[in-house]
Symmetry: C2
DNA sequence: CCCATTGGAAACCGATCAGTTTACGGAGAA
DNA sequence: TTCTCCGTAAACTGATCGGTTTCCAATGGG
């Protein structure tokens, strides 16, 4: 019956890495990660090249789920403006979670500082995907400058994430009017 | 004649803390800080309670200079809209520096995660000062919702900082139109 | 039964962490 | 000169870092 009761060592390590590095920062120790996952260091280093590799893999595994959770379905027939707003509504909903500290992909890039770190590259790709979505919708919606609008939107997205991460304010009722102002300015109605 | 040729140990420590924690993150070691400052650990621990205390003092000392570098003078007789744009022009100019990695106050909050850390508190105050300036100018300029506008502006400010920190894009020509769109939406002309 | 593979526990590596202490050298006062 | 005081370098604490290695118990196939 319990065909999936026991996640593999690999899965437990990926989960622990995602949870602990998000909560405590990327400087969390390998011992703590392994202990949380219930996996020996020996096994960990057989499954992953290094701690950085584990972190990158952990971000990678969640990347597609993260993006698809934010994006609307491809065929919802809603106008581009609403599809863009949908992303920010989802992000704001996530920000309501009790232990939310901002987008993990942004945070890991800031903490690592090294853009060539494999985990930074994964994070960079996630942001690129999101920007590409904004740009495509901006074009579809007839924005006056789709590329500018996409860059403005990802700017607000990351700003909201960073502000949420430092618990700066509640952001209630802040994001939607901001995005709306940018969409209006781009003549995207 | 060289009345100020030699900064005090305290000053050199504050400078080293500001430089190295910005470049390498808050996890830089005390040994490295003292070595860079040319001060023994013993002296450091006589001047400061702890590493965290040194970091907080280093942020504190630069705080007023940072804010005044961004803000226009109180009596420049420019309209509020221009005074707000001035802040973002200054920030964009700073972002052009070769080793710019985003606002140090935002970064330190994200890295520390603990909002009760003395250094986080200093950073928080800096952001509050900036927000207060935006709000005052928004009121002065007759914005439809000064508080909302101020929160939108600090959101963009931190977003730009975070994006610059991860070297996401050049941001050339990105900030000004974004801020302008928000000012327009608030009927602040 | 025996043996070979697996993987966990834990010791171990050299390095570094924050923080304390010791020992020494140099400057000023007597 | 001799004594005192100050700050330095450096050793040291015990803990942790990323990563490796050793040892042993459990497992499964012959």
């Amino acid at each position: 019956m319990t065909t999936e009761a026991m996640p593999s060592s690999r899965e437990r390590l990926l989960e622990a890495a995602a949870t602990l590095t998000y909560r405590d920062g990327v400087n969390i120790g390998v011992d703590a990660l392994c202990k949380a996952a219930g996996v020996s260091k020996r096994s960990m280093y057989k499954l992953f090249e290094s701690k950085g590799d584990l972190l990158a893999a952990s971000l990678e595994e969640r990347a597609s789920a993260y993006v698809t959770a934010l994006l609307p379905t491809a065929d919802d027939n809603h106008p581009p403006r609403e599809r863009i707003l949908h992303v920010f509504e989802q992000a704001e909903a996530q920000a309501g979670a009790p232990d939310f500290q901002g987008c993990r992909y942004l945070v890991v890039q800031i903490e690592l500082k090294d853009p060539s770190h494999p985990a930074s590259r994964v994070a960079h790709r996630v942001k690129e995907n999101l920007t590409a979505f904004f740009r495509a919708e901006a074009e579809q919606g007839g924005a006056s400058d789709p590329d500018l609008l996409a860059r403005q939107l990802i700017l607000v997205f990351d700003g909201a994430s960073a502000r949420a991460g430092i618990k700066a304010d509640t952001q209630a009722g802040l994001i939607a009017p901001t995005v709306a102002a940018l969409l209006d300015a781009a003549d995207m109605h």
